[in-house]
Symmetry: C2
Subunit: 232 residues, 2 copies
């Protein structure tokens, strides 16, 4: 049994020679020089995924928004603040074999961001929002040079599975890792995650576990999927 | 000269027996369960002020938003997230002899914060803003039980001195500590500060120094002012 286990470990699919791109953390969208729109992503799950892919031998590029979790040792780290900057950094980091978009990218930015601090006396400000680039859909839809495996995340508070399935179809990515970020779950900003992996084959609920354990399982699934691709 | 210096140190006005209330850090105003409006305050200056007042012997209550700087050892720490929560915590912490409002409190909150995560498909969301309580003006304007010394902060990007003088008059506080938080200064979120102390007697520019040095100078000025009050 011990020999079998060692055997299995040595036989585990590896990612040596492959380039994995991982995004992580929130983005900050400026309102004026001192104010911005943020979200509660800590970057913990994306950081754990980058570390797990690195352990499997991949060369990892880690594009991170202003996260509270420090970036993992090993991967090349590219720091960005806004969704537009993250989009540019992702495109600059291509080509990649694997792209995991774990960042909680702001859907909107402020169209009329002020260059001076907004004053209270000037009445109630109007925040005019405009849609940010959709990094996941953009990369998943590439006709040339698309990564072999494009994984998106869906952070939902309601109808998690239905929203994740719809997102998989809408974005054209290969997998969606869906999770419930309702405040009651303690997942966003917390140490644990309970995800559903949605693929074209169906949906698998993974048991709640540390973000590191979820990352390891995902990294191994990615290595298996790429090994199958290669064996074809 | 050495004896004079020691003498001066022992003769320095102290704050033993007095209660100082210090607010610090940003506030976060929720948009929906995962998104919020924030600002770039690190809490470093407020934390340093609380520590300096504590060193001078005051009993310090430290009301802090979600700051990146850890709170100082010594003071009683009350953690809040929104401006409304900070307002309630400040009122609950009274009476106080000294109130230093160093927090970068959001002027506005979202009137129509969503209880579910906003979806991109639903079109461009309207963020309807409503004014937050004005903690500084509220406490400075107390007719009964007002702290003897109420100090506000003015974080400005333009016309720093003029805006600070106007704020002193408008809020009814005793002093304004004004600083220039234009991104080019590196002050907001940085280690140093260059402030102008605005009082009814005029305005003093203090040289750029570490936030700890600015806090020490402010704490000593507070102690002198209260000693003068007591001696009257």
């Amino acid at each position: 049994a011990i020999l079998t286990a060692i055997d299995a470990q040595f036989a585990a699919p590896r990612l040596r020679g492959l380039h994995a791109l991982v995004t992580s953390g929130p983005t900050h969208e400026p309102i004026d020089p001192v104010r911005y729109i943020a979200n509660r992503s800590s970057g913990a799950q994306g950081t754990a995924i980058a570390a797990a892919l690195h352990r499997l031998g991949a060369r990892v590029t880690f594009v991170t928004g202003p996260a509270t979790t420090p970036p993992p040792p090993g991967p090349a780290v590219i720091r960005v603040e806004t969704a537009a900057e993250m989009h540019a950094a992702v495109k600059a980091a291509l080509p990649a074999d694997i792209a995991v978009f774990a960042a909680a990218v702001a859907d909107w930015r402020i169209a009329n961001a002020a260059s001076s601090k907004m004053k209270k006396g000037a009445g109630r400000p109007e925040l005019s929002l405009t849609q940010n680039p959709d990094i996941l859909a953009d990369i998943a839809g590439m006709t040339e040079g698309r990564p072999s495996l494009v994984v998106g995340f869906a952070a939902e508070t309601d109808d998690v599975l239905a929203n994740a399935r719809a997102k998989l179809a809408r974005k054209g990515c290969d997998w969606i890792v869906a999770n419930d970020v309702s405040p009651a779950t303690g997942i966003m900003g917390g140490a644990e995650n309970a995800v559903t992996l949605v693929t074209s084959d169906g949906a698998e609920d993974w048991p709640r576990a540390s973000k590191e354990a979820v990352a390891d399982r995902l990294a191994h699934r990615i290595a298996e999927a790429l090994a199958r691709d290669t064996a074809r």
